[in-house]
Each structure stands twice: as structure tokens, then as C-alpha cells.
Amino acid sequence: MEPEIVFEAQQDPTFYDAVAALPEGERLRSCLQCGSCGGTCPVARILQHTPRRLFAMVRAGMKREVLTSLTPWVCSSCYACTVNCPAGIKITDIMYALKRMAIKEGLQPKESDANRFAEQFTDVVCAHGRASEFEAMMRYMMFSHPGRLLGKSAVGLEMMGRGRMPLLPHRIQGLESFRRLVARARELDEVKP
């Protein structure tokens, strides 16, 4: 792993406050840098930045590095870190908030496009009212990883044969009012600070 050197001039002094202002972000100020989050994290083995390290980077104003970090995007939302944090920091919720911030800033995580999967899944839900694992997976795989599709297709076909992977997403009935609710949510999220 290459050490990261960030010069003062590249730091963003407002970033720490911006993250603290996110939902559940304020508590981040009491991080003890104890490392028990990384110790319990099941995905830490592939992470360049454990949660502890990521939060140190937040403090140091390393905005770009934090928002392009893979960590929030491979976080599996297991909540092991959250229940073990001695400072009571809701780490998993902060990971969600950092993902949303990265999307808003148009930043893509390094070596991953997990952000696209989240966005495409959400688009499917907003269009039909129900999720379709099939449609979201297809969209993501077709555009991003056509190679992986082959490996998945064998077991996918078996699931289909057992009625466990419907091709067509179920559409809810009240789609019209549902779409108004979705449109309002998209609008309101835009105007937030």
C-alpha cells in the first residue's frame, strides 16, 4: 500500500465540519482512534482505510481521499463496529452519509463502481415501486461487468427454474401517487444544505 502524503494546501478545512453536520455526524468529534471498529470489521481485510483511519482523514480535511475511498462502498452494513464503538459513534450510519455525499459531489470510489449499483437499484425501485434483483443486477452487470455475468448466469438460470428470480418486476398499483412521493423526495434532497 502506498503511503498517502497530503500537503496542507490540499486539505479542506471545512470538510470536518461538513461531515459533522451530516446525520449522526456530530459524534465523530469524540472518536478516540482506538481502532476497535477496524478490529471487528469483516471487510477490513481488503480495506486501505479502516473506519478509524477514514475518520482520522476526515479530521485532517482530506476530502477527496475520503470521498473516493472504497471503505463506505464495501461496508456491508453489519453494524459490528457501531455496537462496539466505545464513543457511541453510529459508524454505519456515517458510512451511508459519506456515500450520499460522494454521490452528490460526483466522486467515484477508487477501484469500484458500487455507487452505480446503488443508483441503478434505486432507479428500479422508483420506477416500479418494487425492487427487481434481476433487473438491477442485469443493468449493473451489462454496463459494468459483462464478464461476471457468465459466472452468474448458470446459477441465475437455476434460480429462475425454481421460480425464485422473476424476469418482470412487480409494479405497484398506486404508481401515480407513488411517483409524486418519489419526485418530492428527490426535490427535497436537492435543496438540503
Binding site: V43, V74, F117, R130, A131, E133
Partner: protein, 296 residues
């Protein structure tokens, strides 16, 4: 009979159809009346929450508003849906600044939510409302001699273990005992299966799954039981794809909570959706009785 508003979750109508089917089959025998929330929508799970928080809360709020019309308690078999719906419920019940935009979304969708609903996971409802005594009384085909590994996964016990002990959860163990099985304890029972990584980081997801299955294998399990539809499909697909390198208990069939209960209540393979397993033969073999007549 206790009435519940039922939220199947999208998986209940796709990969986890066997969960939905078996739940609907066992519920009346346990004194539960489930009324599906009319025209419910996807809660968006952690994926919508990664994109837009107001949207995530509003998607859940719509379900809460629809549920409030039919029953005071929502029950769902999906831990991830349960957590997502609860997040929105807490925001709306607190009524703070965060609630206003969500209420506005509901209005745009011609809905109103008064905060009168409680959202609970099925495992909590079965252990704490139905009760293990009643469950044990309903058993007609006990799983005598079967070693059952209790796999909780993450979100039934974290961040809150509603109706259970967060450090030492035992709800699944109680169910296993009530249906006459033996608990095959294993250390990773609340570890993450890596299911969320199947699309985006498959190699890491596979590693996490194999660790888990080997731990189950070491416990000499005949059956694995899980309350989580995502864990179920993740483990089952990993078993199927790695069946060449796994053996023994690591290939034990992974049953949904209500499939395990249903087997002990003497229900048939079809009633419980067991024929939908990726490896149905392994499943039949594991469930076959030695002393008694085969129940399946």
C-alpha cells in the same frame, strides 16, 4: 388469534419465496393472522439509503402509512426491511426537524401517518408473542436427533436485538429446542455473510461465506436455520457454487426460520416451498427421519 400487518419484502416474492410460503403456511397454526399491507412498496434497503436519505425514509413511510390502516403491528421476515422501516418510524415518531421533509413526501403521495405502528421482526414475534411453549405444543414431527446450526446474520441482532440479548442472542436456539432439534453451536453465528457484496465484490463475499460454512461444518450441523432471506440465498448460492470443495455440515441445507418450524409441524415440502432449494436432494436427505416415517 393476533392480527399483524404483513410486510413480505421484495425478496419474499423472488429469491425468498420459500420464506413467504412457509410463513403463510405456519402462521395460522401458531395463532397469527397476517394481512398483507395492501400495495406495499420496496423499502429501498441500504441501497436507497446510500443514494438519498429523504427518499429512503419516504419509501418506508409510505408502507407505515398503509399499514396503519390495518393493524398496529407490522411483522416482516426480512431483517433489512425491518431495520429500514424502523429507521423511518423513529424519525416520524420523534417528529423532529428530520420528520418534516418525510411528511411532505407522504402528502405528495396523498398519505398520512400518525406514528401509530410498531415494526417487528418475525423471530421476535414468534418467540415473544407466540411463545416457545405454544410452538412446542404445535409440533407433531419433532426434529429428534437433528443438529441445527442457528445462523442469525447481522441485522436481527445489530444495531438492536429487539426481543433478544444483543451479546448472547438465544431466540433461534429456543426455537430449535422447541421443535425438538439439537443446537449445533458455532462461533460465527452472528457474523456477516457478505451478501451485500455479491454484486460488487464477489471475491470478498465468497471468502466470507466459505469461512462461515466451514465453521458450520465443524459444528457437525445437519441443518442450518436463518431468519434472514439475504443470508439464506447467499449461503445457499455459495454452497452450490463451491460444492466441489465443501463437504459434510458445510453443505447442510439452509432453511428459513419458518421452513424449519413447518417441517416440525408436519407440513409438506410444497407447502413450505422446500422444493425451491438449489440442491433439493441434499435438503431431502438432511430432513429424512431415521427412526420415524419420513415427513417429506
Amino acid at each position: 388469534m393476533t392480527e399483524y400487518a404483513y410486510y413480505p419484502g421484495c425478496s419474499g416474492r423472488a429469491t425468498a419465496r420459500g420464506y413467504d410460503e412457509s410463513l403463510l403456511a405456519v402462521a395460522p397454526r401458531l395463532g397469527m393472522t397476517l394481512t398483507e399491507i395492501p400495495d406495499w412498496n420496496c423499502c429501498g434497503s441500504g441501497l436507497a439509503l446510500s443514494v438519498n436519505q429523504v427518499l429512503s425514509l419516504a419509501l418506508s413511510a409510505r408502507n407505515l402509512a398503509l399499514a396503519e390502516k390495518i393493524a398496529p403491528t407490522v411483522v416482516t421476515p426480512c431483517p433489512s426491511c425491518c431495520l429500514t422501516l424502523n429507521k423511518a418510524n423513529h424519525v416520524l415518531q420523534d417528529g423532529g426537524a428530520a420528520a418534516a421533509p418525510v411528511q411532505s413526501c407522504l402528502e405528495a403521495g396523498d398519505l398520512k401517518y400518525g406514528g401509530g405502528v410498531r415494526v417487528r421482526h418475525l423471530l421476535d414475534v414468534i418467540v415473544n408473542d407466540v411463545g416457545v411453549e405454544r410452538l412446542a405444543q404445535a409440533v407433531t414431527a419433532p426434529l429428534t436427533g437433528k443438529r441445527v446450526a442457528p445462523y442469525y446474520g447481522c441485522q436481527v441482532v445489530r444495531p438492536v436485538a429487539e426481543g433478544d440479548d444483543a451479546e448472547y442472542p438465544h431466540n433461534l436456539e429456543q426455537v430449535i429446542a422447541a421443535v425438538g432439534g439439537e443446537v449445533a453451536d458455532f462461533p460465527l453465528k452472528t457474523s456477516c455473510c457478505g451478501g451485500a457484496l455479491v454484486a460488487t465484490r464477489p471475491e470478498l463475499g465468497r471468502e466470507m461465506c466459505l469461512d462461515l460454512l466451514r465453521s458450520i461444518g465443524a459444528a457437525r450441523a445437519d441443518i442450518v436455520v436463518t431468519p434472514c432471506p439475504l443470508c439464506q440465498v447467499t449461503l445457499e448460492m455459495a454452497q452450490h457454487q463451491n460444492r466441489g470443495i465443501l463437504q459434510g455440515g458445510a453443505l447442510a441445507p439452509v432453511l428459513y426460520l419458518t421452513q424449519l418450524i413447518g417441517v416440525a409441524l408436519g407440513l409438506s415440502e410444497r407447502e413450505l416451498g422446500l422444493q425451491r432449494a438449489l440442491m433439493p436432494k441434499t435438503c431431502r436427505r438432511a430432513l429424512a427421519r431415521t427412526e420415524q416415517q419420513p415427513a417429506l
